[in-house]
Symmetry: C2
Subunit: 152 residues, 2 copies
């Protein structure tokens, strides 16, 4: 069993992800794989730790894998899968999330195309926003580069 702190952390992490559109159990699994000392767990361990049904876990694991949040490895002579967070790819994930923000600009451009010039100030704000998002998207690689430099 997990201690009180870890259980609470799992719930906090779960709620956090829920609020960002993940289904509840997915968020809990995310949390579990973060707080587990081994940083990995088998299907049955997840069922036991979180006290949920196999079907729910099967479902959640498949979605988490599709979204690239987790992966699994096997051990020689065992059929069990050991699921783990793909933490080694956090830079990719973060980059994707940053660029996602700036995807607003895709439809903002369409909005601008559709708008007349009755409200120039409003249009100007929209244009500014688009420009910033473009700026940000272009800036992301340099940002990572600068970060890595600052770390070494």
């Amino acid at each position: 069993m997990l201690n009180e702190n870890k259980l609470e952390l799992i719930e906090r992490i779960g709620v956090f992800h829920e609020q960002r559109g993940m289904q509840p159990l997915m968020g809990r699994i995310f949390g579990l794989l973060l707080v587990l000392e081994e940083a990995e767990a088998t299907f049955d361990e997840i069922v036991d730790y979180l006290n949920v049904s196999k079907s729910a876990v099967s479902n959640a694991l498949n979605i988490l894998q599709l979204q690239g949040h987790i992966a699994y490895k096997t051990k020689p002579g065992e059929r069990k899968r050991y699921f783990f967070l793909t933490m080694d790819k956090w830079e990719e994930a973060m980059e994707k999330e940053l660029c996602d923000i700036s995807q607003v600009s895709s439809f903002m451009k369409d909005v601008l195309k559709e708008r007349g010039n009755e409200k120039p100030e409003f249009n100007h704000h929209l244009q500014d926003l688009c420009n910033f998002m473009e700026f940000l998207k272009n800036k992301v690689p340099a940002l990572f580069k600068e970060f890595r430099k600052s770390q070494s």
Copy 2:
């Protein structure tokens, strides 16, 4: 009535926001206030344009106001409210959204505190992620400054 393009845009914008956790109607109202030439609408106009009930609109408008996405003004001699997107504050909104990403670091730190040292590599990735989020948060003001400079 709105033309086909605008209606389709409203739906696209609606779905976009839905996927980020907004309730459907809120996203549609967001879209409506973007594509309307006047960039504003009264309660009844929203009801008519989007073909929804008053109760739903009342609800959605209140939440959108609480979240700071929209505001309203009144016109002298009229009781009607004219709702509009608070586009003039897009920088604040964007800044908040950027900092939100880095709020992951709040519970990531707790995760690190809770973890032993059995998986140093995993812990290291976690630490890197925390560091990057801190880095990003600190970088946001400079980013805006640089953007404004590039625009002038």
